[in-house]
């Protein structure tokens, strides 16, 4: 039985601000534990999105992709996404929208409602530490995520888009 909410955090912990996804994943897991909310959530961390992640979406009620972003408005954006073919061809690593599209093709139906939490990063160099601004953005993003996890409902999340 899949947990109702899937948190898919993407990034490389050893590449500067690319660590934002794994960092938030770890901190959110801790927060969920302390809040006694672990039962409703599954957290998955990976380096990047791939086609098989579409199968992780099966049976969920809500999904959120957490990733670092270049040129993202600071400190982060949170928005609902839809399946899309428009940007799937730019890279070997899929966009969240393309993962939803792969879900449509492989599962034969619409994916669960999905959101992207994209936190602004500045430096993505190998072996670099998290930048100060990214660390601050992560704090704000965690507070925001915690609020969403207290009320994991589609309408509430839609109203929280920013």
């Amino acid at each position: 039985m899949s947990a109702a909410v899937l948190i898919l955090a993407i990034g490389n912990p050893s590449r500067g601000d690319d660590a934002l996804g794994p960092l938030l994943c770890g901190r959110l897991a801790e927060w969920l534990e302390n809040a006694g909310l672990t039962a409703g959530f599954e957290l998955i961390e990976d380096f990047q999105l791939q086609i098989e992640h579409a199968l992780d979406l099966v049976g969920r009620q809500l999904v959120v992709f957490i990733d670092a972003g270049q040129n993202t408005p600071a400190p982060f954006i949170f928005r609902q996404i839809a399946p899309s073919t428009a940007i799937a061809h730019t890279t070997h690593a899929l966009s969240p929208e393309a993962v939803l599209q792969v879900y449509c093709q492989t599962e034969g139906g619409q994916p669960p409602p999905a959101f992207v939490l994209c936190v602004r990063g500045e430096d993505f160099g190998l072996g670099e530490a998290l930048t100060v601004s990214a660390a601050q953005a992560a704090d704000q993003a965690l507070d925001f995520l915690a609020e969403r996890c207290r009320q994991p409902e589609l309408q509430a999340w839609q109203q929280a888009q920013r």
């Binding site: 590449r15 428009a86 061809h89 899929l94 792969v102 093709q105 990063g121």
Partner: protein
């Protein structure tokens, strides 16, 4: 084996086209073409934008941390780095021969990685080109387009990937940042439940892999004019070869052949790789250019990966893959096939072999035993070599008496293929772009040639907003004249 089109005579008089970064390869690559006013090609170079700092990242760390931390070098092939580092550090801890359980569990992990990596490449990265054509509508030429037009093919790609990832998860302990291999062995055996879960699907996986070979064989043989000549260049080739000349991705000795298939060296202990390989630095690229010392820089470069491995071995130990290898060799007509697009065919033969080996291993009760570690006399230096999905991968470490890594040298598969990829795109530029108006479809021909090698260019920073494909046409002063973008 020459350097034609590497350096133009009068570059200041030419226009520059940059494909930056190359799409659907791992990381950041950039191709620049210098053209004159008649669009004649004078210089073609594949640049690796961000392939620095690996050794610095590792040096100064305790050696036991290395098998885990090197996984972060690459989001695409973390298992390859994990196992190559572990093999090098086996030597450091004096574990020259692992227990059967440890070796088989590592092999299972590695073959799971080969399966999922080859599946990703075939079904996700290259099938759009192969199924729709190199200059088809760019909005269709992607995995989503494949899923719409060939839903069963796309679904199999997803499920093959998923199975390979499950093999990795149960052997490495986690989906990412696994700790399965440690210097001297492994820290986890398989449980009966884990084995049985994989056994439920493996027969289907083998069957799908067979059908994937037949699909690419059909695609290739139906259009020999294209597939046997696109981007073709002749070169030496190298790989590990297992016991008795078998195809082996995990362990063996080094063998190299020349472009006619004659042996250059054979049965070379991987600890002695520096006796035969040297790396050249060129001012225009961050990535080095390895070559065989005995043949020199100009004639000693080589290719690695599936096309090299399948033609370098004497046989494949599993029946279905061996049957397919023989078909491939027969098609090649008794001499080595050098066409880059034949990488796809051989890659699928390797995927089939990986599936068959996984099936055999899952029936081996050694995977369930607890005899996982060995130790021996501590050494100060070790080399680990494996055949990663993209080709031969070298990890070489020196460790001091305080267990800190003092020297690290990595030659990754893509570096081994550096000159080969450059040669392939120069051939394509000469054949398809020379004297013609540059279009997106024509530029994709360059990328098709690069993708055949399945390069891993920067080992994967992937943040949202990165990696659009932009093509810039600059005038002689470096000012942009025209730009194409896929973002």
């Amino acid at each position: 084996m020459t350097y034609q089109l590497e350096t133009a005579q009068n570059p200041e008089k030419l226009r520059r086209v940059a494909i930056d970064p190359v799409s659907r390869v791992e990381g950041h690559g950039k191709v620049t073409l210098l053209l004159d006013e008649q669009n004649k090609v004078h210089q073609v170079r594949l640049h690796i934008v961000e392939f620095r700092g690996f050794e610095k990242f590792i040096q100064g760390r305790p050696y036991w941390e290395v098998p885990v931390m090197v996984q972060r070098l690459c989001g695409i092939c973390p298992v390859s780095h994990h196992l190559a580092a572990s093999k090098a550090l086996d030597i450091i801890v004096g574990a020259r021969k692992l227990t059967p359980t440890a070796e088989k569990l590592r092999r299972l992990m590695h073959y799971g990685q080969m399966l999922q990596s080859h599946a990703l490449h075939f079904f996700h990265l290259c099938s759009p080109d192969l199924l729709f054509g190199f200059d088809s509508d760019v909005t269709q030429r992607n995995i989503v387009g494949v899923a719409q037009a060939h839903p069963e093919t796309a679904r199999r790609g997803v499920l093959l990937r998923k199975f390979g990832q499950e093999v990795i998860r149960v052997t490495a302990g986690k989906r990412v940042h696994g700790t399965g291999a440690v210097p001297g062995g492994v820290n986890k055996s398989l449980t009966v439940a884990e084995r049985d879960e994989l056994l439920k699907d493996i027969y289907q996986i083998v069957q799908w892999s067979r059908e994937a070979v037949h699909l690419i064989q059909k695609v290739h043989t139906q259009d020999p004019g294209l597939y046997n000549s696109f981007g073709i260049f002749r070169s030496n080739f190298m790989s590990l070869v297992g016991h008795g000349g078998d195809l082996d991705f995990y362990n063996g000795t080094l063998r190299a052949r020349d472009d006619n298939g004659a042996l250059i060296f054979d049965k070379l202990d991987d600890q002695k790789y520096q006796q035969v390989i040297e790396e050249e630095v060129r001012p225009w690229s961050y990535m080095k250019f390895p070559f065989f010392k005995a043949l020199g820089k100009e004639h000693g470069w080589y290719k690695v990966g599936p096309l090299a491995r399948v033609q370098n071995c004497d046989q494949i130990s599993t029946p279905f893959a061996e049957h397919e290898r023989r078909d491939f060799v027969d098609y090649a007509g008794g001499s080595p096939m050098h066409a880059p697009l034949a990488y796809h065919w051989t890659r699928m033969i390797e995927m089939l072999h990986a599936a068959e080996v996984i099936k055999e291993l899952l029936h081996d009760d050694d995977l369930l035993l607890d005899d996982r570690m060995v130790t021996g006399a501590r050494q100060m230096e070790g080399v680990g070599v494996i055949e990663a999905p993209r080709g031969t991968l070298f990890h070489h470490y020196q460790v001091d008496e305080n267990d800190m890594v003092t020297m690290a040298n990595l030659i990754v598969s893509t570096t081994n293929n550096n000159q080969a990829m450059n040669e392939a795109i120069r051939h394509v530029a000469r054949r398809y772009l020379h004297g013609r108006e540059i279009t997106e479809g024509l530029l994709n021909h360059i990328e098709v040639a690069i993708r055949a090698f399945d390069p891993c260019l920067s080992c994967a920073t992937h943040a949202l907003g990165q990696m659009p494909l932009t093509v810039e046409l600059l005038d002689a002063a470096g000012q942009p004249v025209h730009a194409l973008s896929r973002s």
